[in-house]
């Protein structure tokens, strides 16, 4: 299985962040999906069942916590790797993210190289 078979869903309400992450992940060779809020994320999770979800937390309508909880509590999706990326970067925020079952928590602003490296290693583990 190559990276071409690995689906990555990027969820963020900030179009510029979406744009840059989309660029980065496509360049790494993943199949990339994007969602601008939690509701769109639900649709794609159900239809595409991505392998990794890069998830913003503070979003309108349905926030990142709810999306993560949905993924990690449904038997059909709990294998999906969840990476939180948020400007909430206090210790207590990270702790909450991991308690909800996230696999990684990357505070914003992040280094793109670091982000790419971490997503790559996480994606490899799904293979």
């Amino acid at each position: 299985m190559t990276r071409q078979h690995i689906k990555i869903l990027i969820v963020d309400d900030e179009p510029n962040i979406l744009m840059s992450l989309e660029f980065l992940m496509k360049k790494e060779g993943y199949r990339v999906f994007i969602a601008r809020d939690g509701e769109e994320a639900f649709d794609i999770i159900r239809s595409e069942v991505p392998d990794v979800v890069l998830l913003d937390i503070m979003m309108p309508k349905v926030n990142g916590y709810e999306v993560c909880t949905f993924i990690k509590t449904s038997p059909a999706y709990q294998h999906i790797k969840v990476v939180f990326m948020s400007s909430k970067s206090r210790e207590i925020d990270l702790q909450k993210g991991y308690e909800l079952g996230a696999d990684l928590y990357i505070p914003k602003p992040f280094s793109t190289r670091d982000m790419v490296a971490k997503v790559n290693s996480l994606a490899t583990s799904t293979l």
Binding site: E14, I17, M19, S20, F23, P60, P109
Partner: protein, 901 residues
């Protein structure tokens, strides 16, 4: 009407009264008092109107015109002072459990038993004639109604008035001596009396209406016809020489109404709530007014109709209906008079018996150990039996007086003499509540002197006319000493008999009272009581603590003593309750002085202050106490009360402070939370563009081979995000300056129109991009404004760019309106966007609005714009508001004064 009928109906009426009394007492037990309201209270006070009012006023009016009114005008004049006098007396009596006027005077002057006894005797002397005229009235009305003239030579067993007296004895006993109470209150009695007052009023008015409108054509008819009869003309005016006696009669009635035993009983002892006095102060005079309206018309009608008959004028009220064959109305009138007489007799006898047992009988008996033992076994029932016997005694005495003396006098003249006797209590009683120095010697001297003069000037003459004393006594004085003539003492002539007697008796009374009080000292107990009476409102909540008593009394003795009079269960319950309320122990050997004082107070209610003092002294080993110590104790109790009040006040303040602190804390917590929220939002808002900038720059850096167009797009985004960051930082700083008040407006005069058009110019490009049309409409010429140009422009731009943001993608329309009204500039910015829900309208000026509305689709912006605008407008002393409903766009309105102060 046949005698049998009248007797039967009278008995039925008494039974109805008894039923009412019973009902009221049952209600009292169930805590749904019938008499606990000012109306029943005021009606009960109308016991003042006896048979004398009912029959006698008409008689008096027929003989001497408006003269009869003095006994109603006097009290009415004084009644505004009742609030000062009676409220104080009522409070004193409640606190000290005083149950009669004799007890009141005796308690004030050191609980002196002799003084209480003297007051009781004077009451008896003065009131028995008064009761006798009630008997006379009943007998008279009975004989007129039954058309059965009593023969003067009848022996008492064939005399109807004797049987009437017996019946009254039975009913008075039934009403007044049902049980021994610690406060001598009788709700049943009060209810029955109030009912009788109503009957009196209605029947009198009924006859009045019958005479005035049935026999004549109204008031004018009667008066104009009477005016034509020379004999009657004198009834329309007060004779010139009588104005002086008017004054004395009014004064006499005004004083007597305060201290007549029956009035004292109903006004003071039976009072439930001091505030009832307020309403009674105008209801009672109103009653007097109404019941007197028809007196003159009836008197004149009687004179006109019975012109040549010898019908006594006291009987007109009955004779008129009977003359016109109105049997029913005549019976009603009889019933009214019967009510007037019986209510007086019942209440007066009840009050007198309480005085008799508590101030004459008990002090003598409880002082003797052998009697105390006997009282101990029966206690209450002995007192009750003594009272029953006494009631029989008084009424029989009144009967004898009636047969031998008062039969020869009019109702009014006998009544006035009784008033004069009671008036002798005025100096001692009134002085007692306002003058601390007044003492026992003064009080006793005053009452003795006054009563002696009363006896000499008002009773002796009546005995002369009865033949008991030779007329020489009146004409030449005793042993021909002319200045001792009873009707012209010290040569004082030209006054009517009554005024003369009232003048001299009160004169000597006052002289003795004042001189005695000034010349002699007070005992410790007297001093104590004087302070407690005069300053009752200071001591009423700390009474037991304010009584100076020192000594040793076994608790068991106190309990035994109380049980003798109230029964063991009641005594123990009362003492336990009192001890618990005041945190005293009942387990000690000796009783606390406060407990002893409480026991004495309870006993006072049942057996009178003087007797209670004696029995308590008999079980306690008392120490002598000096006046100085009394002063000390009073001071301490006052200080304790003050300290207590101070403590209560302090604790209340503390409570309020704690509450304030808690509120401040809560506020602080809320504002802390708001600060946290604000910080979180700002952090998020700063990190978001930072993230984009960093990511995009890194991408460009790491991918030198990327397409130029994409590179350009990324670079452009970086620039825009940097702008966003700058804007945000500026806004946060702005807001901080406005909120802390560090920003100073830079004011200048500028054209309103240019402000608006400049603002629109600067966002025009933005609007064009979204194809939004901006319309303006100005109401008249706008002129200039003195304000901060840049800040107002900032607000307008903020509102306009918000409007652009919320306008629909197609057909966006923004309308800007402006006008100046009363020195206020109104600018409105209206869009046709999605609108704002009412809940959100309350929040949008809040700087944390975005933080609280994570669930709505975020529109670009920091969420600080409106918060800043609001702050600016507030600095300009203006107001900003929004009106909107979902789907119908929103209108933001600014109101700014054109001249900022």
């Amino acid at each position: 009407m046949s005698s049998l009928w009248i007797i039967t109906l009278s008995l039925i009426y008494l039974l109805v009264l008894f039923g009412i009394a019973n009902w009221a007492e049952r209600r009292a037990v169930a805590h749904r008092s019938l008499v606990n309201n000012p109306y029943v209270y005021a009606l009960s006070l109308a016991v003042y109107c006896t048979a004398w009012t009912f029959y006698g006023s008409v008689g008096r009016a027929a003989e001497s015109g408006p003269d009869f009114l003095s006994v109603y005008i006097g009290p009415t004049f004084l009644i505004p002072l009742w609030w000062v006098i009676f409220r104080k007396i009522i409070r004193i009596c409640k606190v000290q459990r005083i149950t009669s006027i004799a007890d009141f005077i005796s308690a004030r002057y050191g609980k002196n038993r002799t003084l209480g006894g003297i007051v009781t005797l004077v009451c008896l002397l003065g009131i028995v004639p008064y009761i006798s005229i009630q008997l006379k009235a009943i007998t008279m009305s009975f004989s007129i109604l039954s058309e059965h003239q009593p023969l003067a030579t009848q022996s008492f067993w064939s005399d109807q008035s004797f049987y009437i007296a017996l019946a009254l004895i039975v009913f008075t006993i039934l009403f007044g001596t049902r049980k021994l109470e610690a406060n001598e209150r009788h709700e049943g009695l009060v209810a029955a009396i109030a009912f009788e007052s109503l009957i009196k009023l209605f029947t009198f008015i009924a006859v009045g209406l019958f005479v005035t409108f049935g026999l004549f054509n109204g008031f004018t008819d009667i008066f104009s016809r009477a005016a034509k009869v020379p004999d009657l003309q004198k009834l329309f005016v007060l004779p010139q020489q009588q104005t002086g006696s008017w004054f004395w009669h009014c004064l006499l009635a005004a004083i007597a109404i305060l201290f007549l035993p029956r009035q004292f009983q109903l006004t003071v002892v039976e009072n439930i709530n001091e505030n009832h006095l307020r309403k009674a102060q105008w209801l009672f005079p109103l009653y007097l007014l109404i019941i007197n309206i028809f007196v003159l018309p009836i008197a004149l009608s009687g004179k006109l109709i019975f012109e040549n008959d010898t019908i006594p004028s006291d009987t007109y009220l009955l004779a008129l209906p009977l003359h016109f064959k109105q049997q029913g109305l005549a019976f009603l009138t009889y019933l009214g008079g019967f009510s007037a007489a019986t209510s007086m007799i019942i209440v007066e006898c009840t009050a007198l018996t309480v005085m008799f047992t508590n101030n004459l009988l008990m002090p003598v008996l409880v002082g003797r150990p052998s009697w105390q033992k006997r009282l101990g076994s029966s206690g209450g029932s002995f007192v009750l039996n003594a009272r029953r016997l006494f009631i029989g005694g008084i009424i029989l005495l009144a009967y004898l007086y009636y047969k031998n003396v008062s039969d020869k006098y009019s109702l009014v003249s006998v009544g006035m003499v009784s008033f004069a006797a009671v008036a002798q209590f005025a100096p001692a009683a009134l002085g007692g509540i306002f003058w601390k120095k007044a003492n026992l010697v003064g009080a006793m001297g005053g009452i003795l002197a006054g009563s002696t003069v009363w006896l000499y000037t008002l009773i002796i003459p009546s005995m002369v006319s009865n033949g008991f004393i030779s007329t020489d006594f009146l004409t030449y004085g005793p042993a021909h000493v002319s200045w001792l003539r009873p009707e012209a003492l010290f040569g004082l002539e030209g006054m009517d008999n009554l005024s003369h007697g009232v003048f001299w008796s009160l004169f000597f009374n006052l002289i003795f009272y004042v001189c005695g009080s000034l010349h002699f000292g007070q005992s410790a107990l007297e001093h104590n009581q004087a302070a407690l009476f005069v300053d009752i409102f200071k001591y009423d909540t700390s009474y037991e603590r304010s009584v100076a008593w020192r000594g040793k009394a076994l608790i068991t003795d106190i309990v035994t003593l109380m049980s003798k009079f109230f029964g063991k269960p009641r005594a123990e319950r009362a003492l336990t309750l009192y001890a618990r309320r005041n945190k005293l122990s009942l387990q000690t050997k000796y009783a606390d002085p406060m407990l002893v004082n409480y026991a004495e107070k309870m006993l006072s209610g049942a057996i009178g202050a003087a007797s209670a003092r004696i029995v308590v002294a008999s079980v306690a080993k008392e120490e002598r106490i000096t006046v100085d110590e009394v002063i000390d104790i009073l001071k301490t109790s006052q200080e304790l009360k003050t300290v207590n009040e101070e403590l209560t006040r302090k604790s209340r303040e503390l409570e309020a402070l704690t509450h304030q602190l808690k509120e401040a804390n809560d506020k602080l917590r809320v504002s802390e939370q708001q600060k946290d929220d604000f910080l979180a939002t700002v952090t998020h808002e700063i990190r978001t563009p930072l993230t984009s900038i960093r990511a995009l720059s890194e991408i460009i850096h790491d991918n030198p081979d990327m397409e130029l167009a994409q590179q350009q797009h990324f670079l452009n985004t970086i620039i825009k995000e940097s702008d966003r960051l700058t804007r945000l930082v500026n806004q946060v700083l702005d807001l901080e300056r406005y909120e802390t008040g560090r920003y100073q407006l830079s004011k200048e005069v500028f054209s309103i129109q240019s402000l608006i058009s400049e603002s629109i110019n600067s966002i025009e490009q933005l609007a064009k991009e979204k194809e939004i049309i901006i319309k303006t409409s100005y109401d008249g010429s706008l002129g200039n404004i003195y304000s901060d140009y840049d800040r107002l422009m900032q607000v307008l731009i903020n509102l306009l760019s918000n409007a652009i943001k919320f306008c629909p993608a197609q057909n966006g329309l923004i309308e800007v309106g402006a006008k100046v009204e009363n020195g206020i500039l109104l600018i409105s910015v209206k869009d046709n966007g999605t609108g704002i829900s009412p809940e959100q309208q309350a929040l949008i000026f809040d700087k944390f609005y975005q933080a609280e509305s994570k669930r709505t689709r975020k529109v670009k912006g920091s969420g600080l714009g409106l918060a800043i605008s609001k702050k600016i407008i507030e600095l300009c002393e203006g107001d900003i508001q929004v009106q909107s409903s979902l789907g119908k766009g929103a209108v933001f309105t600014l109101q700014i004064p054109t001249r900022v102060s």
